[in-house]
């Protein structure tokens, strides 16, 4: 899969996260979190694992986390990536 254009998934509600993706020459992941100290590394790992599963090698991914569980982070990342593909196909 390839990140073809800007897309978002998620919300800024407590226990959720907002994921933003856009095309880039290399792979960049930026994480901010209300529980950065406690779970920053876990969020980054969940994001990178999901991107690897989807075969994403390039793109800028920004996670604004409000205390989401790993399963939520993974679902939001996957949805944002799929939206970034789908919207181009529909265009």
């Amino acid at each position: 899969m390839v990140i073809k254009q800007k897309a978002m998934a998620g919300t800024m509600e407590s226990s959720d996260c907002l994921v933003y993706v856009e095309p880039a020459a290399d792979l960049q992941v930026e994480v901010s979190s209300v529980v950065m100290v406690q779970f920053g590394a876990a969020i980054k790992k969940a994001t990178l694992d999901t991107l690897a599963e989807l075969g994403i090698k390039q793109g800028f991914i920004k996670i604004q986390d409000r205390g989401a569980l790993d399963c939520v982070v993974k679902a939001r990342v996957e949805t944002a990536v799929r939206r970034s593909e789908k919207e181009v196909q529909n265009a």
Binding site: S14, S15, V34, V35, V37, Q38, F39, G40, A41, A42, R66, G67, A68, L69, D70
Partner: protein, 467 residues
């Protein structure tokens, strides 16, 4: 004779306020309070420095305090509660001397016994006469009980009453008598009525909160304490209020006549009084206008001082007669210690208030809180800050199970018989971690930004600066 002076400046000068003195404030105007800022602005204008503020609580509206500490106008803060805005600045290390946190019972205890003398007490009152009889029950800025102001009014070297509604002498239904008052100042407004009743005083709609409230009521019934003469205190958190509403239904249905309800008073507790669930309300602070109105007009609704409420240095206080208290927590540890001072990032955003006092006094002290908030587990190995010692906490209730302090085998047996979902505190921690994952530890700095005094005055923990 009249004690009315023309301005706050004149009052401050008359009281002989000097560098390095201690002044006190009470927080009944909550996040609508204009008085603390107004007084400090005047003090700064007079060029006074190194003041110590002894306030029953600091709210976000008191943000100007941050600059005043930087300018060394204020160099000491002693309080029972500190909101996030000032708390974050303190956690950043802006004050050289650590903030001293007390409890709502420990503070008046320290004032009454002379351990923390007050030079000048500033009392915000929504009505006063020109000799200083005053109250919070009536007037455009009515806030209800003045319970937290009574100790300093009785013991401060000088007492200034600040009011926005002057009435002819004598004020009917005064809360603090003229005998203690040195001067009276009239101002345009002591506070913003919208902020006075602000805060967490609405019943929750969150299904997790409602589940906890339902379990809490079942636990109260199972404890055997819910019978004629029952006494009760609850906080103003959404789930605690829901528990009060559910409890009311049970008490009405079973025709149980309780003795009193205590604490910060909301309309929900007034409803319980009016439904005949309790003979009296003991009121140290009102949280909403319904409570204010009830205090002003219902003789069963009694205004009490903070000393009477909770001081461990009196012959007895109301918390000593409490059956059940429902309390909140940001963290609980496996020794049942409770943190209500700092958040997951170690930032000050609260304080004991009456938490430790009610926990120490009540026959059953019950923490109700969700198992996790924003991925942070409620139960940890060691709380970030010990606000209330675990030996005074009997029950930790979450939506995923109830842990009973091993000291209270009697309660545990009763809960089991009632079929309540009993788990160990370690099991609660494990359940939360299974969902959230294991949190990496928070690192704090080495500078002590606050000391936490237990109600008896003993320091039970320190809070370090954030990095």
């Amino acid at each position: 004779m009249s004690k009315l002076v023309k301005s706050l400046e004149e009052a401050i000068k008359l009281c002989g306020l000097k560098d390095g003195m201690t002044i006190s404030f009470h927080h009944h105007l909550r996040n609508g309070d204009f008085v603390l800022n107004m007084v400090l602005k005047e003090i700064a204008a007079l060029g006074l420095k190194n003041m110590t503020i002894n306030a029953s609580a600091i709210f976000d509206i008191h943000e100007p305090l941050i600059d005043l500490t930087k300018q060394k106008v204020v160099t000491g803060i002693e309080t029972d509660y500190m909101g996030r805005t000032v708390g974050e600045a303190i956690s950043g290390g802006i004050l050289e001397k650590p903030v001293i946190f007390r409890t709502h019972g420990g503070r008046p205890g320290a004032i009454d016994t002379g351990r923390t003398p007050i030079d000048v007490a500033f009392v915000a009152a929504s009505q006063a006469d020109d000799m200083g009889n005053c109250t919070g029950k009536f007037g455009k800025s009515a806030c209800g009980s003045l319970g937290y102001a009574m100790s300093e009014a009785a013991h401060a070297k000088k007492v200034v009453v600040i009011t926005d509604e002057l009435v002819p002498y004598p004020l009917n239904g005064f809360s603090i008598p003229e005998v203690n008052v040195d001067c009276v100042v009239q101002v345009d407004a002591i506070g913003n009525p919208a902020g006075i009743v602000s805060g967490t005083t609405k019943i929750t709609r969150d299904p997790v909160g409602l589940k906890m409230a339902d379990l809490a009521v079942q636990a109260i019934i199972a404890s055997g304490l819910l019978k004629d003469g029952f006494s009760f205190q609850t906080g103003a958190g959404g789930a605690s209020l829901a528990a009060a509403v559910f409890l009311k239904d049970i008490m009405v249905q079973k025709q149980i006549k309780g003795s009193f309800v205590m604490g910060g008073i909301t309309g929900y507790l007034v409803d319980m009084l009016e439904a005949g669930c309790f003979r009296n309300i003991m009121d140290v602070q009102c949280f909403d206008l319904k409570a204010v109105d009830s205090l002003a007009h219902d003789p069963r609704h009694l205004e009490v001082s903070a000393t009477h409420y909770a001081s461990p240095f009196t012959k007895s206080s109301i918390v000593d007669s409490l059956d059940v208290v429902i309390l909140g927590a940001t963290q609980v540890d496996t020794n049942f210690n409770v943190n209500v001072h700092t958040n997951s990032q170690g930032i000050i955003m609260g304080g004991s208030g009456g938490h430790s006092d009610a926990a120490a006094g009540a026959k059953m002290s019950m923490i109700i809180a969700p198992l996790s908030r924003a991925r942070m587990s409620l139960v940890v190995d060691r709380v970030q800050t010990i606000s209330t010692p675990g030996k005074t906490i009997d029950v930790v209730l979450t939506q995923r199970g109830i842990a009973v302090n091993p000291r209270r085998e009697d309660l545990c047996e009763k809960f089991k018989t009632a079929g309540l979902p009993i788990v160990t505190i370690e099991e609660l921690k494990a359940r939360a971690e299974a969902i959230n994952g294991i949190a990496q530890p928070l690192k704090t700095g080495t500078k002590t930004v606050a000391e936490v005094e237990y109600r008896t005055g003993e320091i039970i923990d320190t809070i370090k600066n954030i990095l």
